[in-house]
């Protein structure tokens, strides 16, 4: 369950954002759509606890992110929030397996290689575990990024423009994959995008 009320954020003295309230029941997904510069990424960073809002509250399963102390917030993020970026990023000195082990370690969870194999084989990249993700194809990188986001069974998965560089076929594929993976780990999927092609695949849509 995710709920926000009267979130605002201010950049400098002139750029002020006020965001509409969000309320998601369990297992609901959300598409936040809007043109560039409207504050989509800012909203996503507020929801993911990467920034503090000027005012307002964010509840993820009854935990108010805005009141958590910095160290608790870091831990909370590692355990409950999965992030997928427009371009996939990895720790470049590490193989995919090591990247995934690090994600478990930093969230303060026990090392669970079985879970890693399960997820990667499901996403069809188990054979790539020993390789460095920099050398993957674009599709493999996208799936590796999804594997990282869902590894710790987060409560919410945020995706920031996941499809903007993809053609129509791949756009539908990736969105389908994201929705499927989110449902299998019983997480909310919240996607922010300016890509109107995604509209049909989501029940809940907020336009900024």
């Amino acid at each position: 369950m995710i709920r926000t009320n009267s979130l605002t954020f201010q950049f400098g003295s002139d750029k002020k954002f006020a965001f509409p309230n969000i309320e998601l029941a369990d297992n609901d997904d959300l598409l936040i759509i809007g043109p560039s510069g409207i504050g989509k990424t800012t909203l996503l960073h507020l929801l993911a606890g990467l920034r503090k809002p000027q005012s307002g509250n964010i509840y993820v399963n009854e935990t108010d992110l805005t009141t958590l102390r910095a160290s608790r917030l870091d831990r909370f993020r590692g355990r409950n929030i999965g992030l997928i970026f427009q371009r996939p990023h990895f720790i470049s000195a590490l193989s995919l397996m090591e990247n995934l082990l690090l994600v478990q370690h930093l969230a303060g969870l026990k090392i669970n290689k079985k879970r890693i194999r399960e997820i990667t084989s499901h996403l069809g990249i188990e054979s790539k575990l020993g390789e460095n993700p920099r050398l993957f194809s674009q599709g493999e990188q996208q799936r590796a990024a999804i594997a990282i986001a869902i590894l710790n069974r987060p409560k919410v998965i945020f995706a920031d423009e996941p499809t903007s560089s993809l053609d129509d076929i791949n756009c539908e594929k990736v969105t389908g994959l994201l929705l499927q993976q989110a449902h299998e780990t019983s997480a909310h999927l919240i996607v922010i995008t300016h890509d109107l092609r995604l509209k049909d695949q989501f029940k809940n849509v907020i336009s900024l």
């Binding site: 990424t41 800012t42 960073h45 993911a48 990467l50 920034r51 910095a70 160290s71 870091d74 831990r75 993020r77 590692g78 355990r79 929030i81 992030l83 970026f85 990023h89 990895f90 720790i91 470049s92 000195a93 590490l94 090591e98 082990l101 690090l102 994600v103 478990q104 370690h105 930093l106 969230a107 303060g108 090392i111």
Partner: protein, 392 residues
């Protein structure tokens, strides 16, 4: 996969710049540690050979040369002094013992010294084969000499005039080897000892004159510290001889060598500091490139403190490995140098396992590692995740 492994992986993911910093650090630490070992070894060796000798008398000339030639057998003698004068010295109330030394001849580059049995006794040298010389033209050979030249009891040695390997040969007079000394880690190991009479014999025979009873130097031990104050002045002013104090001259020598050691140490410290600077530049640049990765780590749940430790850890790890590589490097260097020195001189230079000064060196090197990484680490500590991710 924990942060320590990640630190290590980050370091080795940049083999060139990490290698450069590591190489500089190894070189600097290796040099410092070698200088430390070398100066303490030399001092030890000098002390061992000086023990029991309070004063040396010999012909007038350079006091340092007299000490080097009479005590350490590494320089040419200053000249000869009449035995009579030395005998007189024995009767002085400040003097406990006098050991006369006659040298100047050699056998295949090893010095032949005419003396009495007090001289080997001074260094607690005992024979391992045969006996100590008893009469004229008998010699007892030092352990190192016997080993290198493969000399055995019963061999005849024909000495040559002077200390060079090729001097005029004393063809008519052959020495007979009656014994071989055991190793005593002193100057005795590289000498051939005989009685003073043998030396006089060889030389007067040659020149067909009366026996000229001279010695080259004498090693004196005082009965009490008053001798130290009175005797040298008395000898230098009232006799044809000069008196020199080994402790004083060796301190002077170390003072002079110390300048060289100091200059080398400064150079080595500069190298260590340059390695610190190269590490700093290396970290500072990669932090700019890796900023996005570091923000990513924050989204995975890493705290700012963990990122700080990640960067400082690189400095720490590099400095520790550089330190130990430098220590190993210096030990190998000492083994090489030791075998060279043992061949040229008799001094044995065995490397230490670990010295206390090196603990200070370790602290210094870790300090450099921390200094080099602290500014990049603070930048990382303050990273704005949201902005970095947006810009990345």
């Amino acid at each position: 996969m924990n942060m320590i492994v990640l630190t290590w992986k980050n370091l080795i993911s940049r083999p060139l710049s990490t290698g450069l910093s590591l190489m500089l650090l190894t070189l600097g630490v290796g040099m410092i540690s070698m200088i430390l070992m070398l100066s303490s070894r030399l001092e030890e060796q000098f002390q061992r050979n000086m023990s029991g000798i309070d004063m040396v008398v010999g012909a007038k000339g350079s006091p340092l040369q007299l000490i080097l030639s009479a005590v350490f057998q590494v320089d040419a003698p200053t000249g000869n002094i009449p035995l009579e004068e030395v005998e007189k010295l024995k009767k002085n109330r400040f003097v406990a013992s006098v050991i006369p030394l006659s040298y100047g001849d050699s056998y295949k580059g090893y010095r032949i010294v005419g003396t009495n049995t007090d001289y080997p006794a001074l260094y607690e040298a005992t024979t391992v084969k045969g006996t100590i010389w008893n009469s004229s033209m008998e010699v007892t050979v030092g352990a190192r000499v016997a080993e290198v030249l493969d000399i055995n009891v019963g061999d005849k040695l024909i000495s040559s005039h002077g200390l060079a390997e090729v001097g005029e040969m004393h063809q008519d007079d052959a020495y007979e080897v009656v014994g071989v000394f055991d190793y005593s880690s002193s100057v005795i190991d590289q000498l051939i000892l005989t009685s003073p009479e043998s030396i006089w014999n060889v030389h007067t025979h040659e020149e067909g004159e009366e026996i000229e009873r001279e010695v080259t130097a004498a090693l004196v031990k005082f009965r009490n510290p008053m001798g130290m104050i009175q005797l040298p002045r008395m000898i230098n002013q009232n006799t044809t001889m000069q008196a020199a104090l080994p402790a004083y001259e060796i301190n002077r020598l170390f003072g002079m060598m110390g300048v060289g050691f100091d200059a080398l140490s400064v150079l080595a410290v500069v190298i260590v500091i340059v390695s610190g600077i190269s590490l700093f530049i290396n970290l500072y640049n990669t932090i700019r490139e890796r900023k996005y990765e570091l923000a990513l780590l924050r989204t995975y749940g890493a705290s700012p403190f963990q990122l700080l430790m990640l960067v400082m850890g690189e400095g720490f790890m590099l400095s520790i490995s550089g330190f130990f590589m430098g220590i190993i490097f210096s030990r190998i260097g000492m083994l090489f140098l030791g075998s060279f020195v043992a061949k040229s001189y008799r001094y044995s230079l065995r490397p230490d396992l670990f010295t206390t000064q090196e603990i200070l060196l370790l602290i210094f090197v870790i300090g450099i590692g921390i200094m080099a990484s602290i500014i990049p680490a603070i930048r990382v500590f303050r990273i704005d995740i949201s902005r970095t991710l947006t810009e990345g």
